[in-house]
């Protein structure tokens, strides 16, 4: 707490770097909006709840995109929330289109922009037909890279563009928010015989970029590792490599490793309880249909669920259980 570099920054910048102000402003804004309701149980409690939820990562649920995107922590929380809520979809083995994933994203964030999802889809599909089906894990990891590092990726795109067209890679490039990826497609033909750009040169530029700019970048060492095996790479090849790299994933800290992506025992138990509860409350007529769902839906049924519902007490990691209003 009392480290010297903390005191090195002027106050305002220090606060800004930690995004404290963002949360403060948001908290006050929320307070203003819900004045009547919050006044019932006190402002102190409100702030407690607010910052607790920030810590737990639930503050971004159903919030507008500008807030979700505002801080790295928010982004991480959002990714984590998306994973937790829709892990079951992935577990079921369904392949969905980009639009459908976007729908799922919108369930959590109503005004999430389509272009981010599209860019993520392009990473998975290597810029091919954007209407192809994608698996949950592929999409999720690509989306993670795209969403968390979106500004970084825009700069990278611009750099790639320049390298392709042979410009000086060391000039400072500050692209506008999304113009980079717009330019890169037609240039591919001009690259000549070899596809993409040389890996080491590319890495150098990236390093410069990371040093220069303040928004979050993947740790350079890990990037180097990702690039170590290839001589040349394309833009999407690079992104794909990033998304598949375990180290970067761990550095981000939002999602578990690919192997563990479908595992969340606590949630699974909770889910089973919900399912059983819903089964018990079926009205009689619904018991008659025995055949599997007539929707033509390819799925794998997990029958072992029923056995696991024994334990009634599941430790919920969150302190605040919502009580029903009535």
């Amino acid at each position: 707490m009392l480290s010297p570099e903390r005191l090195a920054l002027p106050d305002y910048e220090y606060l800004a770097q930690r995004h404290v102000l963002t949360y403060m402003e948001d908290a006050v804004c929320q307070l203003l909006e819900n004045r009547e309701d919050i006044s019932q149980y006190g402002i102190a409690r409100f702030f407690t709840e607010y910052f607790n939820s920030v810590c737990q990562g639930t503050h971004i649920l159903f919030r507008e995109f500008s807030f979700v995107q505002a801080t790295p922590h928010n982004r991480v929380s959002f990714l984590r929330a998306f994973w937790r809520c829709f892990r079951t979809v992935g577990k079921n083995g369904d392949l969905l289109t980009m639009k459908e994933y976007h729908c799922l994203l919108q369930l959590l964030c109503p005004d999430f922009p389509l272009e981010l999802t599209q860019k993520a889809a392009r990473i998975v599909l290597m810029d091919d037909a954007v209407d192809c089906l994608m698996s949950f894990s592929d999409f999720l990891f690509a989306f993670q890279i795209q969403f968390y590092y979106s500004e970084f990726l825009d700069s990278v795109a611009a750099i790639y563009e320049d390298l392709l067209s042979g410009k000086n890679p060391n000039t400072v490039i500050v692209p506008t928010s999304s113009s980079g990826q717009h330019r890169q497609r037609p240039a591919l033909g001009e690259a000549g015989m070899l596809e993409g750009v040389e890996a080491s040169l590319f890495y150098q530029c990236l390093e410069n970029l990371c040093d220069r700019h303040k928004y979050s970048c993947p740790p350079p060492a890990l990037v180097k590792e990702a690039l170590s095996n290839v001589q040349r790479l394309t833009f999407y090849g690079f992104l794909m490599a990033l998304s598949k790299h375990h180290g970067i994933n761990q550095a981000l800290g939002a999602l578990p490793d690919k192997g563990d992506l479908m595992h969340d025992p606590a949630m699974d138990e909770e889910l089973e309880r919900l399912v059983v509860r819903s089964k018990l409350h079926r009205t009689p007529w619904q018991h008659r249909a025995k055949e599997p769902g007539a929707f033509g839906f390819q799925r794998r049924e997990k029958q072992e669920a029923l056995e696991r519902v024994s334990s009634a007490s599941v430790p919920t990691p969150y302190h605040y259980r919502w009580e029903p209003r009535e």
Partner: protein, 691 residues
């Protein structure tokens, strides 16, 4: 060329019996012939002649001949001409001076008849005569009978100005002609010929009976001028329509049996004929129709007999009743078809507008996209492949319908239709109709509500109204409503109950998603829906839905901080309450679920309650509203930060300066107290000064 067949007729029964030709033409006792009923024409020229039936059989002839063996007739061939010359004995000439019968004489030509210029009746029945000739000198002829010959053309009659009866039945006549001078004609029998057209009889103003049965007539017209005609026989033709009959002032009997009349319109002139009292239509297609009898009776009140049966009062009454009913039905169906046409046009109009709107939206979308990112396109609308599925039918409309519709303006941009238990709304203007005063009965009967060509976001706003006004609506159908997100289904949660949901793939891209049905089942689980898009919902489906999205619900309920929950739920509840208080007004964007009617324990339902749908515009509006607050918050926090940093700075400055200051303070104090006595004096002094 007529071969000169001459025969000696002596001794054979081929002779004509020239006695008492009593021209009684009659009866239906004749089996194979036409059922011609001629009026009895009694032509008693010879008072003491005995009567015998008109057509004699050969046997009779023989019999008669033998009993009246008198002077016989000689048909002598002349070497000069090819025509045989008829000679009668003078006795016969005197006895039967006015009649001559050459029936069944195997004649192929008309013989020359000399010296018989007073003849009034001439009978050539049952011969093989092909041309009417050699009778021009018989200028006193009143009746000429050429029944059953082979005559192909009416000719040779121009001098017979006194002719009253002309019988040309069963010949091969193709055309009515050359009757110009027969102005006194009373009976004209042309049955059994090959006549195709009624013509050249308009001058026969004394004609009373006209028989054109068994010809090739296809229509009846050109009957003007027949001012005395009382009977017209047109049986066994191919007549499809009848005209000009109202120009016949005396016509009483009209026989149209066995023709091709199929509607009363084609014989409509009959209604205007006041003299007509007897008519037959049997054997026509019209007689098979269910409306035949009463239509005829209703249109021809003057009739006394139809199809040879007398018309009773009862029948007349029935006829008028039925005719009125027919009229009603026709008017009704006309109205129905008008309505249907109008409906179709309106729906087409709505569809067209919807397409235009979609294309406009899509083109704006692509413009925006082109501005910032690359080829993001809305694949469903731009390529025109979702143009309305109601192609303009330019098929032939009933002309009457067309004329009527010119008056209707097809500017209607929406359509509301109630059809039994279904309420159909086309076009966004139709949503306002929900405000109308629906009768409780009508509203109660509605179980299905169908929305077409309306934006789903607009429908969302009227769902509360729907809930109140149509409490029994259990089945919702959406077609061309732009359902694109799963989120939109959240809005349906506020209804009381849905049993069936039909989302037509046309115009609703959401159906292309793999998970949409499961999401619907999950979000609307409290409705226990039975069918989605016609497929029954099984328990496995419900479990699947729960499995897929259960965690989402759990997260949405248990992990939200309480103030958020309250704000989301409470906010919506407040606004809904406000809506109920004020009956009209803009509805809020956030719509939520009412738990009152659920049968389930409360805990299970409300864990989904936070999954809401806000229409885009309202969402943006809300964000706009918040901008102000955000700005304020920003400045407020900035002020706070400034204050805090100032205080912090001051604190740090103080920290730095404090040691120094402390030493100074201490030194000052020590210096002060160095001299105890003077310090004591100073203190006391200070105290007294204070007082």
């Amino acid at each position: 060329m007529i071969p000169g067949k001459y025969r000696s007729v002596s001794g054979r029964a081929a002779n004509n019996v020239n006695c008492g030709l009593h021209l009684v033409i009659q009866t239906s006792s004749l089996p194979e012939k036409n059922k011609v009923r001629f009026k009895k024409v009694e032509f008693k020229l010879n008072k003491d002649t005995s009567s015998f039936p008109g057509r004699l059989s050969q046997h009779d002839l023989e019999r008669n001949y033998s009993s009246r063996q008198g002077d016989h007739i000689n048909l002598v061939s002349s070497s000069l001409s090819s025509f045989p010359i008829l000679q009668r004995s003078s006795e016969e000439k005197i006895l039967y001076s006015d009649r001559l019968s050459l029936e069944r004489q195997k004649l192929t030509v008309c013989p020359i008849i000399n010296g018989e210029d007073h003849l009034r009746l001439l009978n050539f029945q049952h011969n093989f005569i092909t041309r009417i000739q050699n009778i021009s000198n018989l200028q006193k002829l009143i009746s000429l009978d050429l029944y059953d010959n082979q005559i192909e053309e009416i000719s040779g009659l121009s001098t017979l100005r006194c002719l009253r009866v002309l019988l040309l039945g069963k010949n091969r006549i193709k055309k009515i002609s050359n009757l110009e001078n027969l102005k006194s004609l009373d009976v004209l029998d042309l049955h059994g010929n090959q006549i195709t057209k009624i013509e050249n009889i308009n001058h026969l103003c004394e004609l009373r009976v006209l028989n054109l049965a068994r010809n090739f007539l296809s229509h009846v017209d050109n009957l003007n001028g027949l001012d005395s005609l009382t009977e017209l026989n047109l049986r066994h033709n191919q007549i499809t329509f009848v005209r000009d009959v109202d120009n016949l002032p005396c016509l009483q009997h009209l026989f149209l049996s066995f023709n091709n009349i199929s509607s009363f319109d084609s014989v409509s002139c009959l209604a205007d004929s006041s003299s007509l009292s007897d008519i037959t239509f049997d054997g026509n297609p019209i007689a098979q129709e269910s409306w035949y009898k009463h239509t005829v009776l209703q249109n021809m009140m003057q009739l006394r007999q139809l199809d040879m049966k007398r018309i009773t009062e009862e029948e007349r009454r029935m006829a008028s009743v039925l005719a009125k009913k027919e009229e009603e039905k026709k008017r009704e169906s006309h109205k129905q078809s008008l309505l249907k046409e109008k409906k179709r046009l309106t729906i087409n109009n709505v569809a067209r507008q919807w397409d235009l709107q979609q294309q406009r939206v899509a083109s704006i979308a692509t413009d925006e996209d082109r501005k910032d990112s690359d080829s993001a396109q809305d694949p469903c609308q731009i390529d025109g492949s979702t143009l309305s599925a109601f192609p303009e039918e330019t098929g032939p409309l009933d002309s009457g319908l067309n004329n009527a519709l010119q008056g209707l303006s097809v500017v209607d941009t929406y359509l509301v239709e109630v059809d039994g238990d279904t309420l159909s709304l086309y076009g966004s203007g139709a949503l306002e109709s929900l405000d109308r005063n629906w009768s409780v009965q009508t509203a109660g009967m509605i179980t299905t509500v169908s929305f077409t060509f309306i934006e789903f976001d607009e429908i969302v706003h009227v769902l509360p109204k729907l809930k109140i006004k149509f409490p029994n609506s259990l089945h919702l159908k959406f077609k061309e409503t732009n359902l694109v997100m799963l989120q939109q289904f959240n809005a349906l949660a506020q209804l009381r109950r849905i049993d069936q949901l039909t989302i037509d793939p046309q115009g609703n891209p959401v159906v292309n998603f793999t998970l949409w049905k499961y999401y619907v089942l999950f979000r609307l689980s409290h409705f226990s829906m039975q069918k989605i898009n016609g497929t029954e919902v099984t328990q496995n489906d419900m479990i699947m839905a729960e499995r897929l999205f259960g965690i989402l619900a759990h997260v949405a309920s248990s992990e939200l901080p309480q103030y958020r929950l309250i704000s989301i739920l409470g906010d919506a509840r407040k606004k809904q309450f406000r809506y109920l208080l004020e009956s009209k007004g803009k509805k809020p964007g956030i719509i939520n679920e009412e738990n009152n009617d659920s049968k389930r324990p409360v805990g299970e339902n409300t864990n989904r309650a936070t999954l809401n749908y806000t229409t885009r515009e309202f969402y943006n509006e809300k964000l706009e509203e918040i901008k102000e607050k955000k700005k304020f918050c920003k400045t407020y926090i900035e002020d706070l930060v400034k204050e805090a940093t100032e205080i912090n700075m001051k604190n740090e400055a103080l920290q730095k300066l404090w040691p120094q200051m402390f030493i100074e303070l201490v030194r000052d104090a020590v210096i002060e107290i160095r001299n105890k006595n003077s310090y004591m004096k100073l203190c006391l002094q200070q105290i007294t000064d204070q007082k």
